[in-house]
């Protein structure tokens, strides 16, 4: 068990059109980790628009953000345009150089990748984009949360909650993680089995790919090629 510093700075990086649960899920759990302080960093203190249509107020600008102990980059449809945002990519690279943990949820992995942080690393991302991980030098590992040294990547959206609990357990032990799980009544009971291409009916997987993810993956590929 690693002893957390006081405060243990958890920094989430926000950008327009973030899929907000990528951030709000793990933020809910990590903010109650003993000694943790959550910072929400963006280019300015103006509200950042989420995919749901409401804005989130950053707590700090990139310029004024303290050094993170745990850096977390969420994903979403805003990732592809964010890949050419030099200020954002520079911020991630600078923060990562001294962070204890460098993490992403969903397609946030490609922002880590664009900052050069996934070269030769095992990693994961949202299932619709895993085939693109080699473009940033990463090797896809088929798991909900992937640890490779101090780089931790999580799969799509809701995997951020399991990622956060796994981090809490790693840093503070099982009892603290279980306490947070009880606190947030995390005894999930989805109405259907599913949630991954392997566990979902194939007509649903195929429909989502042809209607949505094939085009989104093409956009991401184009953005990664610059």
């Amino acid at each position: 068990m690693t002893q957390a510093q006081n405060p243990f700075n958890v920094v989430f990086v926000l950008f327009d059109n973030v899929t907000q649960l990528n951030f709000t899920g793990p933020a809910q759990f990590l903010c109650r980790m003993p000694g943790a302080k959550v910072h929400v960093a963006a280019a300015s203190l103006d509200p950042v628009m989420t995919d749901v249509g409401f804005g989130i107020m950053p707590t700090v600008t990139f310029e004024d953000c303290p050094q993170s102990d745990l850096l977390c980059v969420p994903g979403g449809l805003g990732v592809a345009p964010a890949l050419s945002d030099i200020q954002l990519i520079d911020f991630v690279g600078q923060q990562a150089s001294d962070a204890q943990w460098i993490t992403s949820v969903c397609t946030g992995a490609f922002i880590l990748g664009q900052a050069g942080l996934l070269q030769g690393r095992r990693a994961t991302t949202h299932w619709g984009f895993t085939s693109l991980l080699p473009m940033v030098g990463a090797v896809h590992e088929d798991a909900r949360t992937v640890f490779d040294g101090n780089i931790v990547t999580a799969g799509g959206v809701t995997s951020g909650i399991d990622f956060a609990l796994t981090i809490v357990a790693h840093l503070h032990g099982e009892d603290v993680a279980r306490s947070l799980q009880l606190n947030f009544e995390y005894d999930p009971a989805p109405p259907f089995a599913g949630g991954t291409p392997a566990t979902s009916p194939q007509h649903i997987v195929q429909a989502m790919q042809s209607r949505f993810y094939d085009d989104r993956a093409a956009e991401m590929e184009k953005a990664l090629r610059g």
Copy 2:
């Protein structure tokens, strides 16, 4: 399967010190429900401070909010003070009178209760507060999501995600719900079994009650007595 109107107005009610995942979890899923439009309503358009320490921008004031088809009240430590907020309780009561679905997550149930909406209803709330449900005329049902007519109440925090998927399945059928589950990669894998008093180690349940929930339940009881 009920056919949704176009738009199907989903209204979340925000107040200071909301436990943000109560809102952001179901909002993530419900915003992608066919025909749905999510509104985030508060007393003013000023940012609403969440328990995590960042603000959320409402999209509409109570005064200008359209009639909800689905009204959802999240919970959190801000609920006890909100019970004496006449403007908020009146808004909930007025919206509820014409809503197709009246819902809550976590201790949001007590705001429904304060508005007189749970009299004689089966309902649930966060496990730390279920014993108080009779104070608002409700009968506790031990389930993660409880349907009683058009009143749907969910348990603590993360149960809001299962609640949202259950609503989507009810309104739009299994394929749409499964598609959203795949979209958000909701194949939960908590690192430990647990998340309820029955499934958590008893020393953890007892510690959380004595250190936190006994006092919070006493506060809520006092607030409910007015």
